[in-house]
Symmetry: C2
Subunit: 379 residues, 2 copies
């Protein structure tokens, strides 16, 4: 295992609570051993299959974690906000802005990223190409472009191979832009493993059609960038793909486990919470509500709650208010007491991190460090 | 109308974007006229019925807005986190901590609030009373206590009048504590107006039983504190209630309108967003997703989306990713273009504010000021 580097493992500089009991709850705590193992596992997978790993920083929003990813061979980083680009430019000079570069303030700020940063932007419209090219010209820099295709999720991306070719040609025709490849996000194959086979086959077909059309037009994509954590381990079954952008894998979460892409034991981040009331029978109330856990449901399982107790994964957060989470105890003999600490595995870890300013790094009960969620927020 | 005071209306000190077009999206923008009207309306209602108004700051987390509430006669403020207590102690010396005071770090920090602040705490257990009394003794200060009762929501609160009496007696027996009354939160009457009548009658009965039991035991509650925005305007139908703690009313939101406690025209806060993609037919993608809007559903209406376009309230955010919101355009002839700005009325404004560091104050297209969400976060 690659050990975590300083300063993420420099407990000498940490002056906060020494044990979990000293942390004011609710608070996100990361098992440092699991984090390192998650980082290693994904880096090894990508390396063994010759796929470039360009992790999405949206999950951790921390340059310290990003540096750990880069140390393990990541080809660069992926960002969704300009705040993320700004913060990550301290640790990398290769950033993919995987978000439509639309809106004057966003575009201006994006092009103001420190010049050593090689910027790549994914986009899906003529308007985006023209605005980006004009902004690049004004900033006196060159920007690489991935043409984004919709391969079935129906979120962003061109919906035909013809449109992809036409955008790629338009990009190639602008002096300030460099046509760098094809991007896609197959969020619709976030389904349980049994259903993935058919969708992966459809995805291969969709990608093949677009790549063939681009190649026939003399615009063979130098890179084909896709992938996310839920289908991470099946990327080698998509021969067109040269680069993946998973984010969640650093921490993992209940949704990822539900989709078969990790086990609950590989979930590195839990929300430390305190039982604050047990006065209503058959439930315990913890201080982690929507403002600590978010409210993402498990796919296809609205009855499955908004998080599960790490040591009692059958006990879920069945209801929430902003600062209250209700643990449903009807199916268990476990009865926590007021004041007890519990650790909750969140459904979707990315929104949990976004709700916090600080994350604690722990081994067992011992708190070794904390780090800021430096790229949280927008201004 | 009471005009908003400096510095919330000191545009001279504001140096940010002058118009909506200059704001980087997504961002929360507040219509200052609607804000002032919402503040006035609620203050007038409370005053006309002789009910103490102790607004919950969880919605705005801003001492500037809190000061506007206090200028209009609020009796003090209500907080749910110690961060809120700390920040609000700059503008008030009367704070209700409406949250179980459980957990050493929380309790220690709470009792460290500046001494001029008169602290009241609501609680529902013997453990909470004993811990609070010990912490108050150690801090050399006195704390007022509301005994919290469950009146049907089944979140926190004692579930019998006997337990309420026993806790009130225990509080009265601790030298460091002052028995100050009864608290409740009737979140279960957040139902459409047609269903409220029956639940209000049940609530009156439940409150009567507890107040009678306390009175018979020589522990008549000096205050009975309840109320929230959804049933705000019916508080006078609850004769036992002496104090209300609404939060949402300053901004209002789609859920409040859905429950009949405001109109959509009284929603002061919208999320300014940019259309970033229209490449998939019959939809437009905006840059406000779960990390900007939260994911609270409308009660009883999971098909109703996660927010509505202010100028086209039939158009809802039907799906979201972290940084993408999908506007479903199938039911409208309106077709926004890439780059257009839209304003989205969120389902639940409290979680939106919690997701942001800065709020902009606007009149029409003109941005007059911004203010920090000073009590956001926990550390």
């Amino acid at each position: 295992m690659t050990p975590l580097a300083d300063p993420i493992t420099s407990p000498g500089a940490y002056t906060g609570p020494a044990t979990l009991a000293g942390i004011e709850t609710p608070a996100p705590v990361v098992d440092l051993g699991r984090l390192a193992a998650n980082l290693d596992r994904t880096a090894a997978y990508a390396a063994s299959h010759g796929i470039a790993l360009r992790p999405h920083v949206k999950t951790h929003k921390s340059p310290l974690i990003a540096r750990e990813q880069l140390r393990r061979g990541a080809a660069g980083l992926t960002c969704a906000t300009v705040r993320e680009v700004e913060v990550m430019s301290a640790v990398t000079d290769d950033v993919l802005f995987a978000y439509p570069p639309i809106g004057g303030p966003r575009l201006h700020r994006l092009l103001s990223a420190p010049p050593p940063v090689r910027l790549t932007v994914s986009l899906d419209s003529e308007a985006a190409i023209d605005a980006l090219a004009d902004a690049a010209a004004a900033a006196g820099r060159s920007v690489r472009v991935y043409v984004e295709a919709d391969v079935g999720m129906h979120r962003v991306g061109v919906t035909s191979a013809e449109h992809a070719v036409s955008l790629a040609r338009r990009v190639a025709g602008r002096r300030e832009l460099e046509y760098a490849g094809l991007a896609f996000y197959a969020g619709h194959i976030r389904v349980p493993p049994a259903k993935q086979d058919e969708r992966l086959a459809q995805l291969n077909q969709a990608l093949g059609t677009i790549v063939d059309a681009l190649t026939a037009a003399g615009l063979k994509p130098p890179a084909v960038s896709g992938g996310s954590t839920p289908t991470l381990w099946r990327t080698h079954e998509l021969p067109a793909v040269t680069e993946i952008r998973p984010g969640t894998y650093v921490y993992n979460d209940r949704m990822t486990a539900d989709l078969g892409a990790c086990t609950l034991d590989q979930c590195a981040l839990t929300v430390l919470a305190t039982v604050v009331s047990t006065s209503v029978p058959d439930q315990a109330v913890v201080d982690a509500g929507t403002k600590a856990l978010g409210r993402d449901p498990l796919d296809d399982a609205s009855h499955a709650g908004f998080g599960a107790v790490a040591d009692h994964p059958d006990v879920v957060v069945s209801r929430m208010s902003e600062e209250h989470g209700i643990l449903d105890l009807r199916g268990t003999s476990w009865r926590p007491e007021t004041g007890d600490l519990v650790r909750i595995i969140p459904n979707h870890v990315c929104v949990v991190v976004h709700l916090n300013d600080v994350v604690y790094g722990v081994r067992g009960e011992r708190v070794e460090m904390s780090w800021p969620v430096a790229a949280r927020g927008r201004v």
